[in-house]
Structure formats: C-alpha cells, structure tokens
C-alpha cells in the first residue's frame, strides 16, 4: 500500500524533471477493483446518461481562477503602491523585497546570486529562509500561478493561442520537457563560471515586476517576444519548457502539504482537466487505468492554479491540505 504511494512519489519527481509519464506497474487492491468495475461498466448507456446529468448540473465555476487572479494582481499591486504612494508595506521587487521590514528573497534569484557571487550575507540568508518556509507551506509552484506576473500574461496569451488553434491558424509545437531541467543546470553553471547572474538578465518575472514598479524599459520587449512565441508557436512554452524559477519552486513543493487531490471513483475520465492544465503531465493519473489508489495526490510540478478543480464536472479534483483533515 505505502510502497505504491512511495513509488508514485518518486515517479512524480522524475516527471517534474522531464521524464515522460507512463502507466504505473503497481496499484493498491482497492484501485484495481475500481479500475475493473469501471472497465465492466464502460459502454453502458446509463453511464453516458449519468455523464450527461453531471454535465447539465455542472456549475460553470471559475471560483479558483478568480481567487487566484485577484491574489496575483493584489500582490503585484502591493509592490506598486508601496513605492508609488510611499506606504512601505512591500518594498522592492519580486526578486527581493521587504514585507513590513522582513526580508523576502526569491529563491531562484537568491540561488543565482549565491552561485555567482559566492558570498552570502545574513540578510540574504534570512530572506531566502523565510521565503523557502513560506512556499514549503503554501505549495512550491503555487508561486507560479498565484504570484508571478508573467504567468497571468501567459494565461491570456494562451487563450489567444487556443482561439487561433481552434481556427486552425496555429498549431501547438510540443517540445521536450527535459529542456527545463537542462536550462536550470545551464543557468546554474553559467552563474558559477561567469560570475554574472545570467538568468536574471532575461527573467521575465524580474523584468515584469520591475517594469510594474519602476516603469517599463526596453527589456519588456523580450517579454513581448516570449508572449509572441507562445501565441503563435508553442503553448505556454516559457513556463513549460524553460523557466528555471518554476523548477526551483517545484522542488520546494515536493514536501508541501498544499496540493490537489484526485478521487478515482467519481471520475468519468473525460479529460477536461488535462485540457486546461499548464502542466498536463501531472494529471496523467486521471487517464483511465492509471490511478494507483482511489485517492491520489497530484505531483510537485502542479502549480496549484485550480483550473482543473474548476473544470472537473464531478468534483473528483479538490484542493487538499495534507494533515489538516486529520486535525479537524
């Protein structure tokens, strides 16, 4: 039982680093039963009727998306007004800031500086530690979808891309996901070897955050180029195949208690969730016959954006805080 989950836990970490998902070899007894039952009832008319009924009842909810957008805009706005109105609540930019005096330092930026400069001062250590703890608690890549300003622009670019794709004007050019891990290693090595924080020069997160707070510059052109690429060539390319920040936070999220939980029994395996997902490989477990248990936690590469939770017609995907249900 627990060996099944342990295996999946390790598998999901490998998937985050870019491995293709595959059908698991081990299942729990209960999961095997449910899978068998589903296979037997697969083609029966009542199942389709049931699906239809669910579809009709489904509330087209965008609850989590709205909450997330509000949070993302609020957080970035707090940076902007802290400086513009001089209210000093959240000073600095996303790379490093001070929240009512407490140092907060972005993990990837901190890593770049530590590798390039090879000297760490206390404030840097304190700020990095605070942020590390924060995102371990809140779910690692939660940073991506709930805070990163590029994510929001990329979401809108994605809508445009999907619209154009539907009109058959563009096609999504899929790439190898291992690329992101390769980039992470390259940028780490570049920082060590050259002594420059090379990634920070092209980080759309940093560029956008500074553009919002201190006014835009030419660097915004790079961000526009990325968005252009995502609209016309490859869906969400930066977040999916390139961004080392995402991988850094992904690793942090491995041990995070906040995650999306999948319930096998109520799922009709229609795949709506995978269509809206930024990182559909984490939802491979919802494919028929793939779930190793009746309840499965979604892996660390998940950005906890909640689009799948909103999209699921049967409520099979929900947010979960591990341990909290036991406490309450």
């Amino acid at each position: 039982m627990s060996s099944v989950h342990n295996k999946r836990f390790v598998d999901q970490i490998m998937v985050m680093f870019g491995r293709e998902t595959k059908k698991p070899e081990q299942f729990t007894e209960k999961a095997i039963q449910v899978h068998q039952l589903k296979r037997m009832t697969n083609k029966e008319a009542f199942l389709n009727a049931s699906k239809e009924a669910h579809r009709l009842q489904q509330l087209k909810s965008q609850k989590w998306r709205n909450r997330r957008w509000a949070t993302l805009i609020f957080a970035n706005l707090l940076f902007v007004i802290s400086f513009a109105l001089d209210i000093q609540i959240l000073e600095g930019a996303l790379t490093a800031s001070r929240f009512v005096g407490f140092h907060l330092i972005d993990l990837n930026s901190a890593l770049q500086v530590m590798l390039a400069h090879k000297h760490i001062i206390n404030n840097l250590l304190i700020g990095t530690g605070t942020v590390l703890l924060l995102w371990v608690l809140l779910g690692g890549r939660t940073f991506c979808s709930w805070i990163c300003p590029y994510h929001l622009l990329a979401e809108w670019a994605e809508k445009l891309h999907l619209y154009l794709a539907k009109k058959k004007l563009v096609t999504d050019q899929v790439m190898d996901r291992r690329l992101r891990t390769v980039f992470w290693v390259i940028f780490a090595l570049l920082a060590i070897a050259t002594g420059y924080t090379v990634y920070e020069a092209i980080s759309p997160t940093g560029i956008l955050s500074r553009a919002l707070i201190y006014g835009p510059g030419l660097a915004v052109l790079w961000v526009l180029a990325l968005l252009f690429f995502e609209v016309f060539f490859s869906r969400r390319a930066w977040c999916r195949y390139a961004c080392p920040i995402g991988l850094t936070y992904g690793v942090v999220g491995i041990i995070s208690p906040v995650r999306v939980k999948y319930k096998l029994e109520s799922c009709f395996h229609e795949g709506d969730c995978r269509k809206v997902c930024l990182v559909p490989h984490v939802l491979d477990t919802v494919i028929k016959g793939r779930a190793v248990d009746t309840e499965v936690a979604i892996g660390p590469d998940c950005t906890r954006c909640g689009l799948c939770v909103d999209a699921c017609p049967t409520g099979s995907l929900t947010f979960e805080v591990k341990g909290l249900s036991k406490l309450m």
Binding site: K23, F83, E91, G92, T95, A96, S97, R98, H103, I105, D106, S109, A110, V113, A116, H117, K118, H119, I121, N123, L124, G127, A165, T171, D172, Q173, V174, M175, L179, V182, I186, F187, T194, G195, Y196, T197, V198, Y199, E200, A201, I202, G206, I207, R210, I213, Y214, G217, L218, A219, L221, S234, A242, H269, E270, G271, R274, K275, P280, I287, K288
Partner: protein, 288 residues
C-alpha cells in the same frame, strides 16, 4: 501532438514494444529540432547580455558603498530597494542596453547626484545582498585609491555628535575634465539658478532647510567668482576653489579636488556650464 490527440489517447494506451511508426518517428524528430531551436534562442538571448560588457564597457556610477563593478554585477539581485529609499531619487535602474546589468542601480550625477540628504546612506541599509555595503567582506580586494583615509564628514551633520558618513571607499573621483570652460578658471562670476528653470534636480541647501532637499531651480546664486562646486559639495574638505591671480593679472579661481572626495557627483550636477566642466569618473581612485 495537439491536445486533441492526447485526449483521444485518454483510454487504455497499448504501447507496441519495439515498434514505432514512421509518422511518430517524424514527429519525434521534429520535436527534437524544435527543442534545440528553443534552447538556442533562450541561450542566445541570455548570452547576448554579455555583449554590452564586452564592447562598450559602460562605466556606470554606482550608488555609495557599491562593490567593485564585477562583484557588484554578481551580487546585485536587481530588486530596486535602493531606488525606493533615496530621498532625492538619484538612483535609477539600468535597462536592456546594459546587458548583464539590466535592472542594476546607477546614478546619473548630471541629472541628479547623491547629496546624502538621507544622512545615513539609506541605500546601503536597504540592500539585501551586500552589493552596497558599509563593510566589504575581507576576501574582496580594495581598488587602488578607492580607500578613504578617514570617514567623510557630512557638512549637514558637522555639529552632530557623530558627523561622519559610514563610508570606507569612494565610488569615484571628481575631475575638472574641461578646465577651459570652467567659469572660475576664466575669472567669471555666476548669478542665477545653476542649471536653469527647467532643471528638476534637487539639492539640500543648509541655508534653506537642513532636513529637506529643494529643487536646484528654486535657489539663486550670486558669486563674484563662480565656486558653485565648493558651495554645493556635501562633504567637508572635498573640494575648494583656490583664488589667485592669473597670468593676465585678473582674479580667477582654480577648483581643487581633495582626498576627502567620495565621488557623489553633486559638483557635476551643479556645474553651470554646459557640458559640465567638472565630472565624476566612476570607479576612479584618488591620486595625489
């Protein structure tokens, strides 16, 4: 593979061991090509950040307490907290043309110099990574001539119990780069606002307000021989305009920069000639 394709494969997938269709091989090959293209694009963009460093060697005047340029660029996290605390808004963030320096702070002294209106070098206090620092870590060397012989005395704090700025190194040195255009050298005086009515730089005038910097455009000078650089300098004994007689017997002044100069750039900002007769050479050391 589009999303529709992955969705049709949403049922039981049966991989055929050892058998891959030609179509799939082609898609795979194309995917590898695209992946390599994206790799090249992103790395190209990233390494293009080195170009400005190689070609122009742009010498920026960094905020006070900045580490040497190479160390500064490796340690700055590009957050702009120094920008936020500066009372005269002297600090700006560099853009794309600075390559690896994108997002790093610099001071354009001619537009707005650091006049230490904050009294305590707030930008150093704000810096989270030690790029701007009071105490340089022991393993970093000091540029020749960068070390100040004693803590600089801030004229605004001269009567306080602690009149010094906690600075160990200078960020540059003032040089009379255009002596021929200097008004003092020509024996000329100066009346009026230093930089004209349109100039929006600020400076703290002790005779007006000890605590608040005011627009330079709001202050009128009237000097028999121009000595605005000495008048405006916030550091004690950093610059004097030495009066004497020229070869023609006319009275004239010679601006002389002394060892106390920290390179703040106020003299460059206030100089009424266009372009400025006196300038800060960023990163330059003191030479007697």
């Amino acid at each position: 593979m589009s999303d529709e394709n992955t969705d049709t494969a949403n049922g039981d997938r049966k991989p055929e061991p050892g058998k891959v269709s030609i179509a799939k091989k082609q898609t795979n090959r194309r995917r590898v090509l695209r992946t390599m293209l994206l790799t090249g694009g992103v790395l190209g963009a990233a390494t293009s950040g080195f170009l400005p460093l190689i070609y122009s060697k742009k010498n920026r005047l960094r905020p006070p307490g900045a580490l040497d340029e190479k160390d500064f660029l490796s340690s700055c996290i590009k957050c702009g907290q120094c920008v936020q605390v500066c009372p005269v808004e002297a600090i700006k963030l560099a853009d794309l043309v600075d390559g690896m320096g994108v997002g790093t702070p610099y001071i354009d002294a001619r537009e707005q110099a650091c006049d230490f209106s904050c009294d305590a070098v707030q930008c150093i206090l704000a810096c989270p990574t030690g790029s701007l620092t009071y105490h340089k870590p022991a393993h970093l060397t000091v540029r020749p001539g960068a070390e100040l012989s004693s803590k600089p005395i801030l004229l605004a704090k001269e009567k306080d119990a602690e009149p010094t700025l906690n600075l160990a190194e200078r960020i540059g040195v003032a040089r009379l780069t255009r002596p021929e255009s200097c008004l003092a050298m020509q024996g000329k005086g100066f009346q009026g606002t230093a930089r004209g009515a349109a100039f929006d730089g600020k400076l703290r005038y002790m005779s007006v307000d000890r605590w608040k910097p005011i627009p330079v455009a709001d202050f009128k000078y009237d000097r028999e021989i121009c000595d605005l650089c000495e008048q405006a300098c916030p550091i004690k004994g950093a610059i004097t305009v030495e009066m004497g007689l020229g070869k023609d017997g006319k009275r004239k002044g010679i601006p002389v920069v002394h060892e106390a100069c920290v390179g703040c750039g106020v003299c460059e900002m206030i100089c009424p000639t266009e372009p400025a007769s006196i300038e800060i050479i960023p990163g330059e050391g003191w030479r007697a």
